[in-house]
Symmetry: C2
Subunit: 399 residues, 2 copies
DNA sequence: AAAACTTTGTTTATTAAATGGACAAACTAA
DNA sequence: TTAGTTTGTCCATTTAATAAACAAAGTTTT
């Protein structure tokens, strides 16, 4: 554990430039060495040598020649997304979703298991079992499983410890340590909303945004924040406690003990609570209510209208706070997109000024149920590909 | 205007390392070359040569020997804060405050001028005149005036254009271009809350925080956000529109046209509006109300109690959103610190959970009326000292 | 007081990496 | 067929960090 800040030397330069070349290939493939020279402004010789090293490491490969633009035909380069695989696990309140992805985030295997009221021990055992199962499904490759990411519906500290996960009834569970004992590869633990945000940013609706808020609306509300292309976690990892900001002083009681929280009006829980007020809607699930509303039930339609309005008010607050390029609505509520889209948009419009929403996009999640699993997988991939964090010439790792 | 991203080479390394050495001297002076080696982890020879270059550039200087720790006595280094000077201008709603600061942010001259209902032309002329006056007061130095920063109570885009400043009745004023015509040094235009945030971060109560929210409460509310030691401006520079987040759906009407905004309950304007309800308080200014409350007037005391509570509720919302290390309350309301401190704290406590405010500090501005002026001055200084942005060996500029 | 050790700082040879230019290869256009 | 163009590699040059030797100026031990 060095206490020095990072200083700069030739090795650092090379790592950085190599990383930039690799990113360029991942983003713009197929492209030639000459294209990279033009796009990055690096010297021809430098690009040539870095590309050849990356080819040696099997991270990119040549794939025939491209079209001539009046001279020698270029050799096109592709990212080798099969050089290794990552495992992503999304621990939900009543399910575990596991995926195997290639280095481009493409899902090559998945495993869904419903759960119900499990103890910490039972649930972590099930997570382990899921990982073991998925490991067997991973195709043979140069680097094998390069990392495992876990998404948890709770607060996670920087050491990978789950401080509190109310809906799982977890407290102080050192998930990272538990899994590192069993599996010999890097483990990444993240909050579910942060994971979803990162998944959408890398592979989903947020691909083109530099700043984006992912609002995860399920039983509760959490949010993941991407600023300057990076996940912002807050000083203690507690950013995204947005669901508990006050939108009505002295308003409705919230599960957190406070009053008037956004979540108390805009979550699935809030919806079901309102449904209880109508005798013929009492006991209905989110899915039931969607079916009813689709069939034209006026009370159900009204519930979604109200829900959408409150969601929109909260989103307007987020916009005025972060001024993001994009807001993405995800998690379970996504199923009701067609019912809430309009009220959300209307509420955002009526509670913000034109300049405050200039250039803003509001979208629903593209990866649907895979946002979080794909997101944690992306963390593992990034940890592997980020040269600056990878051991220099460690066993099985490219230099 | 290069379209390439920044790649890395030896020149870049040197700039970065030199900048780190300079920062170390600024933060920890007096210190020796050996101390820098220890703190940064750079090689002795590297530090020696970089330090000597910085001495040649007059940015640091030697100052005798320090205490021996069992061997040769070290040569102590100091930052030469008199190598150049910056000018900072805070354009308020009814004043212009100008300061001359040295490179360490120390104020060496100031000029305050009250204004009243001026046209764009009159006000910009007055700003120019203030700058010309301050330029004459700048002591002789190697680099002279290295930049001018201007703080404006409105929205500023990245090109230095004031898009809208409601209280000045400004719209689309290209302040940067206007001033660049007259003054031949770098000009920095910033929003007033952003400037205040940066001022407190560099020289005031926020010196030790990596993430901090500066809440500027005057006639309205604006906020400046520091994340990872840097100012976060949002995708269009509109972050900090926080004053207009909804805290009571369908609540009191706000000047922005919307309803229930935080600002409608927590600003100086809100306070004066409430005072109008009491016949013997009507027409009182903020200063009058403070005097009355200090004299024990129960109605005035109650007004501040209510104001503080609403301020605290809004701050709790900020905390749950950004999870900062610190919140600093600044601008005119600072005068009422002794009256609102307790209600603010109580409201923050009662509307947040212990873990959400873990490690959080809430303070009032330390630089009082100078926050914004010192902040914009700091922008100018940083622009000068940041080697990566300075022209390589430009006229009068160190390499 | 002399010798041995320590800390500070400079100088020099070495090494790593980007750069610029020469060159070869492969193609187009005239 | 010839001249020009684009792509990619190779090599000499340059820059900057590093390691190690060295010098300077102190302290501690004998």
């Amino acid at each position: 554990m060095s206490k020095h800040p990072t200083t700069w030397n030739n090795q650092m330069i090379k790592r950085m430039n190599k990383e930039m070349v690799l990113n360029q290939v991942m983003e713009s493939a197929p492209l030639s060495r000459a294209d990279i020279v033009q796009q990055l402004g690096l010297n021809k010789g430098t690009v040539s040598s870095l590309v050849n090293e990356l080819i040696e490491e099997d991270l990119i490969h040549e794939s025939g020649t491209g079209e001539s633009s009046g001279g020698r035909r270029p050799v096109m380069l592709l990212f080798n997304e099969h050089a290794g695989y990552a495992i992503g696990i999304d621990i939900g309140v009543n399910y575990i979703l596991g995926v195997v992805t290639n280095l481009a985030g493409g899902i090559v295997h998945e495993k869904l298991k419903k759960t119900r009221d499990l103890s910490v021990h039972q649930l972590t055992s099930l997570v382990s079992a899921t990982i073991r199962y998925l490991m067997e499904q991973v195709p043979p490759s140069k680097y094998g499983v390069i990392g495992i990411g876990i998404g948890v519906p709770g607060i996670v500290d920087t050491a990978g410890k789950v401080l509190i996960a109310p809906n799982l009834k977890w407290q102080d569970v050192d998930l990272k340590r538990i899994l590192e004992k069993e599996f010999q590869c890097p483990i990444f633990i993240e909050n579910e909303a942060n994971a979803g945000a990162y998944g959408e940013k890398r592979f989903g609706a947020g691909r083109n945004s530099h700043s984006m808020i992912y609002v995860s609306i399920g039983i509760g509300i959490g949010s993941g924040v991407i600023l300057n292309d990076e996940l912002y976690r807050g000083s203690n990892g507690y950013s995204g406690e947005n669901g508990h900001t006050t939108i009505i002083v002295d308003g409705k009681e919230c599960t957190c003990g406070s009053r008037g929280c956004w979540e108390a009006y805009s979550s699935e829980f809030a919806l079901l609570q309102s449904a209880e007020q109508h005798e013929h809607l009492a006991g209905a699930s989110l899915e039931d209510l969607i079916t009813l509303a689709d069939a034209g039930n006026p009370a159900a339609l009204e519930l979604f209208q109200t829900l959408g309005t409150y969601i929109g008010i909260g989103i307007a607050n987020l916009i005025k706070t972060y001024n993001p390029e994009q807001v993405i609505i995800g998690n379970r509520i996504r199923q009701a997109e067609h019912l809430i889209r309009n009220p959300v948009m209307e509420a955002v419009h009526s509670s913000s000024l034109p300049f405050q929403r200039a250039g803003l996009q509001i979208n629903f999640s593209e990866l649907s149920t895979y946002s979080a699993a794909a997101g944690v997988s992306a963390f593992a991939i990034e940890g592997f590909l980020k040269f600056s964090q990878r051991p220099l010439a460690g066993p099985g790792f490219p230099v």
